[in-house]
């Protein structure tokens, strides 16, 4: 069994020192890995990233993350990623990693920020002005990178997770105003997850007013771990062999 702790959308600012770290003090007792679903900073500045890295250093379990739109706001996303990687966090953007747990488990994580465009019935299309086409193509490219990252994972894993910031399904947007759905996620992300097969869990953030649970059309569980949704420092999901017997 693999215990995955996850959260997103903590929006750490320069005034956040000491606000996150106490909640992670016991994460290694409760989980085998920790996954971060983006929007880890408020404005994506280097100063915020340094505070964030201090808060996340030495949590005692392997950590992987994707960045979110807030982490890109100051055009310093590479610096934000560097700050996280300097404390041992694997930052994913269209690539994958295998996290090895203390008990010898292997968790494959493929990650991408993702993007909007929406869902069938209310979505943007690759048509018209260059700006609209660029918007839609960015979303297509993100989904393609997610699929390729999932495909790159090795066979011998105990669990596979797709980690995103933007939502892959409508289910977890329930509670959000429909007018903003195209800016909260894209069905292309779910299509990528379903295309590969073998994914145990898809995690995302971004939709603060949404709901926690959903499922892709192909049957992969989706969980929105934005902290305003889960109303806790993190949520724990048990995956893999013996999870039913041992999670409680």
């Amino acid at each position: 069994m693999i215990r995955v702790a996850a959260f997103g959308d903590v929006h750490v600012g320069v005034d956040s020192r000491g606000t996150l770290r106490p909640h992670l003090a016991h994460v290694q007792e409760n989980a085998d890995v920790l996954l971060l679903a983006g929007d880890l900073t408020r404005l994506g500045t280097v100063d915020e990233a340094e505070v964030l890295a201090e808060e996340l250093a030495d949590v005692g379990v392997p950590v992987a993350a994707v960045l979110g739109n807030h982490d890109y706001h100051s055009d310093c996303e590479k610096d934000v990623a560097y700050a996280l990687e300097s404390v041992g966090i694997r930052v994913l953007e269209g690539d994958a990693t295998v996290l090895e747990t203390a008990s010898g488990g292997r968790v494959g994580v493929a990650g991408v920020k993702g993007f909007g465009t929406g869902f069938p019935g209310a979505m943007c299309s690759d048509f018209g002005e260059p700006q609209m086409k660029a918007f839609v193509r960015h979303s297509h490219e993100a989904a393609t990178r997610l699929r390729e990252a999932l495909e790159s994972l090795p066979e011998d894993l105990d669990a596979r997770v797709a980690l995103m910031h933007y939502a892959p399904v409508l289910d977890t947007l329930e509670g959000e105003r429909p007018e903003i759905h195209p800016f909260l996620g894209s069905y292309h992300l779910a299509e990528a997850v379903d295309a590969v097969g073998g994914v145990d869990l898809a995690l995302h953030g971004h939709a603060h007013g949404g709901s926690e649970r959903g499922m892709t059309p192909g049957g992969v569980p989706v969980r929105n771990v934005a902290v305003p949704v889960i109303r806790a420092a993190y949520r724990v999901y048990c995956l893999g062999r013996d999870a039913v017997e041992n999670c409680a």
């Binding site: 903590v10 600012g13 996150l20 869990l201 603060h208 902290v227 305003p228 420092a233 724990v236």
Partner: protein, 81 residues
């Protein structure tokens, strides 16, 4: 739409530039209503200050809450699969 809606739009954009995308602005009669979450009390004060500057002279109803992060509820661990 009324002139209040223009002000509400300007306030929403100013909040976004400040990274407070989880604060929402609505018009209720002759008042601007703020709702949503911020991470700290300091940011709450900053939001009120920013909105007051942007919507000087408009009545403001502040319903923003400071989001506290409780410890994870391990009884809510979920088995997937």
């Amino acid at each position: 739409m009324t002139s209040y809606d223009y002000v509400a739009g300007r306030v929403q954009e100013a909040l976004a530039h400040a990274g407070e995308t989880d604060v929402h602005v609505a018009v209720d009669g002759s008042s601007l209503v703020l709702s949503g979450n911020v991470a700290t009390a300091e940011r709450h004060a900053q939001v009120v200050s920013l909105v007051t500057a942007e919507a000087d002279g408009f009545a403001l109803r502040d319903e923003v809450t400071v989001l506290r992060l409780p410890e994870p509820d391990l009884d809510r661990r979920e088995t997937i699969g």
